[in-house]
């Protein structure tokens, strides 16, 4: 506990140092980036000890009046999330040094960066409603300022406002949830919450938590801020937000679910449904995007959907008396939280590297970057393989566990429960396939082929401050993919915190599954290595020549004749056209000989256009009528205030007598 508090202090010192050294950008950036490594170094040992032993530590200090008591605590769940927060913030901070090198406002950005990390730490260790909400709001505000870094651009300002409003709407649902949870007139410490809750109250709390935390996590109808905020934010901030901050929603959901006691069956169904919708629609919308970072943002929606699917399986297992299903589901979900943090961090950093070198994130304007930026390209490829859930990388491990949990549920539960679970297996499988198509598109168009448009010749790989973090994360993708059996016991202590009945048998079963996965992955790598060796052997005494690919008889192919992102995705996008509502503007040539043609596609967000814009428009129209009250006559304002006060006074006097 002490170490974590010192780490928090280190972050605050680093934040204020960065702000204080505004005039010396270089020093500010160094000091601002030093906060996260220092924090990680200070508390990593203590956190691992908590995680391995499962013994929670707590701190209670009485505090000034409005808060009553400062209650903090670290249990296995907290330390699991803390380790992810700190590790990813170290990597992104390192990257940020290079990324913000030419920015004039880097010191302000570092100030908010450190505050964001600190507030996420407090969110995870808070054990008191007020402390939690305070940290939650600080997290929303600091990330808003980070998103608004390039606030000179109108689009960035608009995106950051959307983000701020979405965050506050989410918090709006958390307040009544905590009111319901708190005992009447009692303390607001987490340990006193949720005792003897009526079933309807527990269920309302759960629904409110799903909405409030789901908004932060980016569950499907609540995800609108993600595809706006991520393209606008600096890339290391998107990496941190997408890798860690949206997981705070997952954390909050798990933490509140812990307070609510035995879940009824329909909670699991709700999560499964939301998870399936998010995963499927997330990947479909990603497929239709043209902006690299927007595409990645939709993949965050997809992956949060997968995590929630895992949690949903866990809840279903808990409430239908199948503990081994629950353990598998929760373990898979938590591992996916970790894995998504790593590979999505990597992908956003890669996208940032491309953006910084070429000054565009439009997929259709890029191409052939693999030769110019080999490190970015190969690490991005690793990230793509991981996010698609291909062995031997880390995404496979967690997705496989979630599959396994679903299949175990199908096999061991009653038919009424098993059939929907079977349907989610199908959803997850198609999500995997679509993700593969999407990243084949993203990687293929951006890094392979020839440069489209006039990509300047001066595109070069970024410096080591930006490539080293990507290499580090890519290595972590592989390492985590191979170390599943080692992770399982640590995650099992976390799962034990969730009131999931952990017995040695279910941990053993999980570990056995993961060992087999690792074994197969290792065998696969050995096979690839063997094939590479054979190829090398066969080629080593022969002459190899590079020649142009067959050009279908057309003698002068140009770079614009390559597949574009839209044309690559077109078959799938058309297949799901009724869901995506892609708008097309096609000027096709009408004669047989080629002439100027034009195709434009745009896939706006379905829930933004279908739900939020009409809703807010209606609210706006309704409120515009209130403008009658804002007439500018001071007298009448005062009169209205007085009349209200008199009415209240009379009411109160009448009440008393």
């Amino acid at each position: 506990m002490t170490q974590t508090l010192i780490a928090l202090a280190a972050l605050l010192v680093s934040a204020s140092a960065a702000l204080g050294l505004r005039s010396r950008a270089r020093a500010a950036s160094r000091l601002g980036a030093a906060g996260s490594p220092a924090a990680l170094a200070i508390c990593v040992v203590a956190l691992i000890r908590v995680l391995s032993s499962g013994h929670a530590v707590a701190l209670r200090v009485s505090w000034a009046e409005p808060f009553g008591e400062l209650t903090l605590g670290i249990d296995a769940l907290s330390s699991f999330f803390l380790l992810i927060i700190l590790s990813l913030s170290v990597v992104t901070a390192l990257y940020g040094v290079g990324y913000l090198e030419r920015s004039s406002q880097s010191s302000v950005s570092w100030f908010f960066f450190n505050l964001l990390v600190a507030s996420m730490i407090v969110v995870v260790i808070a054990r008191h409603v007020l402390v939690f909400l305070l940290a939650w709001e600080t997290m929303a505000l600091t990330s808003f300022f980070l998103v608004a870094h390039h606030h000179g651009q109108r689009s960035v300002r608009r995106a950051s406002w959307i983000y701020l409003i979405a965050s506050h709407l989410g918090s709006f649902f958390l307040l009544p949830m905590f009111f319901l949870l708190a005992p009447a007139g009692g303390s607001l410490a987490f340990s006193d919450l949720g005792h003897a809750l009526a079933p309807w109250a527990a269920s309302s709390c759960f629904v409110l938590a799903v909405i409030g935390f789901g908004c932060k996590a980016g569950l499907m109808p609540l995800h609108v801020w993600l595809p706006e905020a991520h393209p606008a934010a600096p890339s290391h901030v998107s990496a941190l937000m997408s890798g860690v901050m949206i997981k705070m929603g997952v954390y909050g959901l798990l933490r509140v679910a812990m307070l609510l006691g035995e879940p009824p069956l329909w909670w699991g169904w709700l999560l499964l449904a939301l998870g399936a919708i998010s995963a499927l629609l997330g990947v479909l919308f990603a497929l239709a995007q043209h902006d690299l970072k927007r595409l990645l943002a939709y993949h965050s929606v997809e992956n949060v959907g997968i995590i929630v699917l895992g949690i949903g399986v866990g809840f279903t297992g808990l409430s239908s008396g199948a503990p081994h299903v629950a353990v598998l589901g929760f373990t898979g979900a938590l591992l996916h939280v970790l894995n998504h943090a790593v590979f999505k961090g990597l992908l956003f950093l890669g996208a940032g590297s491309v953006l910084r070198a070429t000054h565009t994130a439009e997929i259709d304007e890029l191409g052939g970057l693999m030769r110019r930026m080999p490190v970015t390209g190969s690490t991005f490829l690793v990230g793509c393989l991981s996010i698609c859930g291909l062995p031997p990388f880390n995404g496979f491990v967690s997705e496989f566990l979630i599959y396994w949990a679903m299949i175990a549920g199908v096999l061991s539960l009653t038919a009424a429960t098993a059939v929907p679970l079977g349907a989610t297996v199908a959803v997850l499988a198609s999500v995997g396939g679509l993700a593969l198509a999407c990243f084949a598109k993203a990687f293929g168009i951006v890094f392979l082929g020839l440069p489209r448009r006039t990509t300047p010749q001066s595109v070069v790989e970024n410096g080591p401050s930006m490539t080293a973090p990507m290499v580090l994360l890519a290595a972590a993708c592989l390492a985590l993919g191979l170390s599943g059996p080692l992770l399982a016991p640590a995650v099992a202590t976390v799962v034990a915190d969730l009131h999931a009945p952990i017995d040695a048998a279910s941990i053993h079963a999980t570990t056995r599954v993961l060992s087999r996965v690792t074994l197969i992955a290792a065998a696969f790598m050995a096979l690839v290595a063997a094939m590479a060796l054979v190829r090398h052997r066969l080629l080593c005494r022969r002459e190899s020549r590079a020649a142009p690919t067959w050009d279908c008889g057309y003698v002068a192919p140009s770079a614009t004749m390559q597949y574009t992102a839209s044309s690559f995705a077109q078959p799938i996008v058309d297949l799901y056209g009724s869901l995506l509502r892609t708008r097309k503007r096609l000027d096709a040539p009408e004669i047989h000989f080629p002439e100027a043609a034009h195709l434009e596609t745009e896939t706006p967000d379905l829930s933004r256009e279908g739900i939020y814009e009409p809703l807010f428009e209606a609210i706006g129209v309704a409120l515009r009528r209130m403008l009658v009250l804002q007439h500018g006559q001071l007298h009448i304002y005062v009169l209205a205030v007085v009349l209200t006060l008199i009415a209240l006074l009379l009411w109160q006097v009448g009440w008393n007598s």
Binding site: L627, Q630, H631, G632, L634, H635, I636, V642, V653
Partner: protein
């Protein structure tokens, strides 16, 4: 004996309120507000016994309400060159009628509100309420910014009297804080009124509505 003094002060306070409602000359209006300040200083003195603290507070209140504010307001009026609040939203005769209604309401409310300490005249709460109502009425019904400023002053006088009646000894900090607030308000409004007049050649608040949405 003590009660008699307080009663008389309260009657004077009510009369000054009525006079405020019927006056159009700014000089007289400011003078009446100053008189109220003096009356309230007396009330504070008699309500809280003659300890040195009470005397000091009453003296500060008296000098600020009775001397400083009127001086500031008179200066503003002189600079802005206004003497009367012509064409108020609510005419003077109607104002007096409404004043009678407000007095009745204050009496009724004062009887029903469980306030007023034992041993203090039961005229204090109605008189304070009536002063507050008068202040608010001046803000709502008069056109000139300066009269509205006096309205705030009268409103605060009522609040002060109310506090003196129900709490007795107002804590020093609260009292000083309220006075400081009011001082700043009067000063700022004085400057604002002067600027408005200098800029637009009038201080008619009805024409300050350009900022609405």
């Amino acid at each position: 004996m003590m009660d008699g003094v307080v009663d008389r002060l309260m009657v004077l306070l009510i009369l000054s309120d009525v006079a405020l409602l019927g006056m159009s000359r700014l000089g007289a209006v400011i003078g009446l507000a100053a008189l109220q300040g003096a009356l309230l200083g007396g009330l504070a003195l008699s309500a809280s016994g003659e300890t040195s603290r009470a005397v000091l507070l009453a003296a500060v209140g008296l000098s600020v309400r009775g001397l400083l504010f009127p001086w500031l307001l008179r200066r503003t009026a002189r600079r802005a060159g206004v003497q009367r609040d012509l064409e108020p939203f609510v005419g003077y005769a109607l104002s007096l009628l409404i004043g009678i209604v407000m007095l009745g309401a204050s009496m009724a409310l004062g009887a029903r509100l469980p306030l007023g300490r034992a041993g203090v005249s039961n005229l204090v709460v109605p008189a304070a309420l009536f002063t507050m109502f008068t202040g608010v009425f001046l803000i709502v019904a008069r056109r000139k910014a300066l009269t509205q400023c006096v309205g705030y002053l009268v409103l605060e006088n009522g609040i002060y009297g109310f506090g003196a009646a129900s709490v007795g000894e107002i804590p020093l900090l609260v009292e000083l804080g309220a006075l400081l607030d009011l001082f700043v308000a009067v000063l700022v409004m004085g400057v604002a009124v002067y600027r408005i007049t200098a800029e637009f050649d009038h201080m008619d608040t009805q024409r300050l509505d350009a900022l609405r949405g």
